[in-house]
């Protein structure tokens, strides 16, 4: 699997994503500058976490207008895989790659802690290596991860099996405890918890490895 991580100004999980990908794939990940207009030939694009543009205006709003986003939309339309984590999820909703929006946490504070997630669906490259209903622990680290969409959209997401992860103890007020959702074509995953932070037993656990293994098996 060939992968690229997009570097937005003040993205700060770009290196973490690259480190995790390189550890899991054994291959170099390409870092792509936000002002580039083309993607290299890759199977997976990661929109990493961080504070692109300092979260000014609205989280993800400015990065969603970056030059590189055109190429990412084309990649997604052609069925290419996109993993959008944390700020990446915010960027993906702002760019229209995924429905809904991420609002300020219900507790009005930034929250960083490991959270238990229930794997809701295994029908995707991202989740195929997990078991349905399995509990995994990923860290969250965000101030604006409160997922919102109207009821019709939420019903549709649930009906189409596109709610991939749910919080067991909702840390941010997200509608229906939603932690991660999939695009209609099932190739774009957006989630607030950080899978790239759980690939090493020394630094928080290995529950994220199965996501990368699933991607590698599907996309290689």
């Amino acid at each position: 699997m060939k992968s690229a991580v997009i570097v937005f100004p003040a993205a700060n999980c770009d290196r973490d994503a690259a480190t995790a990908l390189e550890q899991m794939t054994g291959k170099k990940t390409q870092m792509v500058w936000h002002q580039d207009s083309e993607l290299p030939d890759v199977d997976l694009v990661v929109l990493p976490g961080g504070f692109s543009y300092g979260d000014y205006l609205r989280c993800g709003a400015m990065a969603s207008q970056s030059k590189i986003m055109g190429a990412i939309k084309q990649h997604a339309e052609k069925g290419g895989a996109v993993l959008a984590v944390c700020n990446g999820f915010q960027i993906a909703t702002e760019a229209g790659l995924l429905p809904g929006a991420l609002m300020r946490n219900a507790g009005l504070k930034f929250v960083c802690k490991p959270v238990a997630l229930k794997v809701e669906e295994t029908q995707s490259a991202f989740t195929r290596k997990y078991n349905q209903g399995q509990t995994v622990t990923f860290p969250v680290a965000h101030g604006e991860g409160n997922y919102y969409a109207d009821d019709a959209t939420l019903d549709r997401l649930e009906g189409e099996g596109r709610v991939m992860f749910r919080y067991q103890n909702n840390p941010n007020g997200s509608a229906r405890d939603i932690a991660g959702i999939l695009s209609e074509k099932r190739n774009v995953l957006g989630m607030m918890p950080h899978p790239e932070r759980v690939v090493d037993p020394l630094t928080g656990g290995i529950d994220g490895r199965a996501m990368f293994q699933g991607l590698i098996e599907t996309l290689s």
Partner: protein, 734 residues
């Protein structure tokens, strides 16, 4: 031209004698711009004029020290060509006036100190001290400071991995916000401030200059009164987004060889950065202020020189490398301007709109700054005997202690900090020391901040020693070899002889401990005048310690790991209750002597414990500090969910045994066979050792008689902070 009147001189925080000295150095009167420049460069904050003669007594050298005090941060060699670069600095006064921005810019400032030397910041710590919980401003200040630290550090993508939070009435009108940053660089890529050579371009990079923070350094060198809130406009506003870009752009420029010298614009902004670079390089500097990127219209030379706008750096480049540097900064959408040149005149010259606004010998701003040997009034350490109810129930007191404002879980605080970004945090907040892996290696740095101000008040020297010893012990407890410290000395008004005594004795104690423990001071910061309406804070010399774990897989943590492990106490227990948490909180008395620190015993016991960890024989260790042995055991149980049954040893007084704060002690836990060997080995080495009991069950039991369920202890331990911050009035006795 403005007349330099006595009133104007005083408004600039200078004495008449100091102004006479300025006139002698210039051979003429100063103009207003020059007066402003002198006022910041000669402020306590920038010149260390009250402490310099005493700071010189601190040990600063060791074979592994690459850079001691005097640069933006200290540097140590951690092997394999890697260097750790770190420093701690205060932002007390601004944080009291405007907690969010004060704390945020404190974080930003200390990060710049570290990355200006070529390091990528990898961890942040902070030592916070607030007034008593029932003071009407305390909640507001805690809330603002914590979100300010998080707001800045989280955006930078540098994990905030721990620190201290304490409450005491002496901080009611003057909180302390000390932030520490640790970074990593290669030993052959370390950047310094000395602008050697003439004719080299001086470049300005980062944010534009505005009118914010003018005279911040002078404000930080004065006492507070009730009108201090009117100084809110002198607090700067942070922009972590720009700082993140500045970090990446600087590291990109540093990967080239274009830089001769680089310095961040911190306190006293453009003035101190340019004057210090010229001073350290033995050169002169000439600035053209018309070239400075400006955010506001019609700024004067005075305003530009004294502005403390954030996220700015000054660099001296090799001639001809400007275009290459400009490309990097433009890529990151930052301002870049050539604003001057180095000279061989030894003078600090500032031009604006075709006029020379300042022309001062560089040495007048540095070496010629006044140095004071302020008088101090020596005071014998307090030594009164303490009295307490010897029959009071031990477990009932324990339950109270684990829920106290100073002792309860800080989860409410650290969950607002991203403590796992960068994917190298191996020990998260809540342990004895934070542990952060050196990226891509099996090495790790252990980091801690420590001081017990309640010991420093009755005995400033012993308190200084204790702060160093506790930092050393906390690093040891995770298995690290302690390497060096940064000190952040927070005291009151040095012009009062009794306060000056606290400073002199405190530095003396720190020096003695650092020498005995091979733990040199490689940098730091003094924050004086921490007084409001004439009332000083408790003397608070915070120590930030850094140690190295060669193999992070051997790291110890404080949580119990298994049932049926033997619980062992290392170190001598005499039952010292003077100035203890127990005496203060259970008996309501802040009295007695501070515990004595026996540095030889500290070293012997610590080296023994570290040896066990390094050999892979022990993985469960907790240092004994606030609240004594029983509190330490309770914390090990609460963290793990595994209980313990323990009994008293060594001395007859139960209160003294369980809650005494004798130094140089650790609680460890190990499986039975290993425990027998450890005890025998300790005895053979003449180290005090006692088997207290074993782990297991869901309760903490003492003397086979009484117990308390862990669930109850944990609930109490976790309850106070969130309840307090939610606005509940909580009686201090639960």
């Amino acid at each position: 031209m403005t007349d330099i009147t006595p009133q104007l001189i005083r408004e600039h925080g200078l004495s008449d004698e100091e102004y006479d000295r300025i006139k002698r150095l210039l051979n003429r009167d100063a103009n207003l711009v020059e007066l402003g420049v002198f006022s910041v460069m000669w402020s306590e904050h920038c010149s260390y004029k009250s402490t310099r003669v005493h700071l010189k007594k601190l040990p600063t050298k060791a074979p592994w020290v690459i850079q001691g005090p005097g640069e933006n941060a200290g540097v140590i060699d951690i092997g394999d060509g890697d260097a750790a670069i770190f420093k701690m600095e205060s932002h007390n006064h601004p944080s009291f006036i405007e907690p969010y921005q004060g704390a945020a810019t404190g974080v930003g400032g200390i990060m710049r100190d570290v990355f200006t030397m070529g390091a990528r910041p990898i961890a942040m710590m902070n030592a916070l001290r607030f007034g008593e919980p029932n003071h009407p401003k305390t909640r507001y200040l805690v809330s603002g400071v914590v979100s300010g630290i998080g707001g800045y550090g989280n955006c930078m993508g540098v994990p905030t991995v721990g620190g201290e939070v304490n409450f005491h009435k002496s901080y009611n009108g003057n909180i302390l916000v000390n932030a520490m940053c640790v970074g990593l660089a290669r030993t052959d890529k370390i950047f310094k401030a000395g602008a050697k050579g003439a004719g080299n371009p001086v470049v300005y990079i980062g944010s534009k200059t505005g009118r914010d923070g003018i005279h911040g350094a002078t404000m930080a060198s004065a006492e507070f009164d009730d009108a201090s809130e009117e100084k809110r406009p002198t607090v700067q506003v942070g922009d972590p987004f720009t700082e993140k870009l500045l970090l990446e752009a600087c590291l990109e420029l540093m990967a080239t060889d274009a830089i001769i010298a680089i310095q961040d614009m911190g306190a006293a902004g453009l003035t101190s950065s340019s004057a210090e670079m010229a001073d350290k390089g033995g050169s002169g500097i000439e600035l053209e202020l018309d070239q400075v990127p400006q955010r506001e219209l019609n700024m004067t030379a005075y305003e530009m020189l004294l502005s403390e706008s954030q996220e700015r750096m000054l660099a001296v480049l090799k001639p001809g490398r400007e275009a290459e540097a400009r490309r990097i900064f433009e890529k990151w959408e930052l301002d870049f301007a050539v604003i001057g040149v180095t000279t061989d005149t030894g003078r600090f010259v500032v031009k604006h709109k075709g006029k020379v606004e300042a022309d001062i010998p560089v040495k007048a701003l540095s070496d010629e700054a006044p140095v004071y040997e302020r008088p101090y009034k020596e005071r014998a350490p307090e030594n009164a005997a303490v009295s307490y109810d010897k029959k009071r129930n031990v477990l009932a007191s324990l339950e109270q202690i684990v829920g106290l404002p100073d002792m309860c879980s800080r989860r409410w605080v650290w969950e607002q900090y991203d403590n796992s970004v960068m994917n190298d945090t191996v020990q998260h907040p809540g342990g004895d020391a934070a542990v952060v892996r050196v990226h891509g290696s099996k090495k790790a740095l252990a980091i801690t901040t420590d001081v017990s101000p309640r010991y420093c008040r009755p005995d400033p020297k012993e308190g200084g020693k204790q702060a160093v010893a506790e930092a050393w012990r906390n690093l040891t407890a995770v298995g690290a070899t302690p390497l060096a410290v940064t000190d952040n000395l927070n005291y009151g008004n040095p012009q009062k002889p009794e306060i000056m005594w606290q400073i002199v004795a405190g530095i003396d104690g720190i020096g003695e401990a650092c020498r005995a423990l091979d733990f040199p001071v490689i940098g730091g910061n003094c924050s004086l005048y921490n007084e409001t309406n004439g009332e000083g804070i408790l003397p608070t010399p915070a120590i930030g310690g850094v140690g190295l774990l060669k193999d992070v897989s051997k790291m110890a943590t404080l949580a119990f790991k298994r049932e049926n492990d033997v619980v062992i106490l290392i170190g001598e227990t005499k039952g010292h209750l003077g100035q203890s948490i127990y005496l203060r909180e259970i008996e309501g008395k802040e009295e007695g002597s501070a515990p004595k620190v026996d540095l030889a015993m500290e070293k012997k016991n610590g080296d023994f414990v570290r040896g066990l960890i390094e050999a892979g024989r022990v993985d469960t260790v907790h240092d004994v500090s606030d609240g004594g042995v029983l509190t330490a055991i309770a914390e090990m149980a609460i963290k793990s969910g595994i209980g313990a049954s323990v009994g008293q040893a060594e001395i007859a007084d139960a209160i003294g045994f369980w809650f005494g704060e004798d130094q140089a002690r650790y609680v460890i836990a190990a499986p039975f066979t290993e425990a027998e060997n450890i005890v025998a080995q300790a005895r053979a080495a003449y180290i005090f050792v006692a088997e207290l009991g074993k782990t297991g069950g869901d309760a903490l039991t003492i003397d086979d008689r009484e117990n308390v369920k862990l669930a109850k202890l944990r609930a109490t331990h976790e309850a106070w902070f969130p309840r307090f911050m939610a606005g509940e009035e909580i009686p201090l006795t639960n």
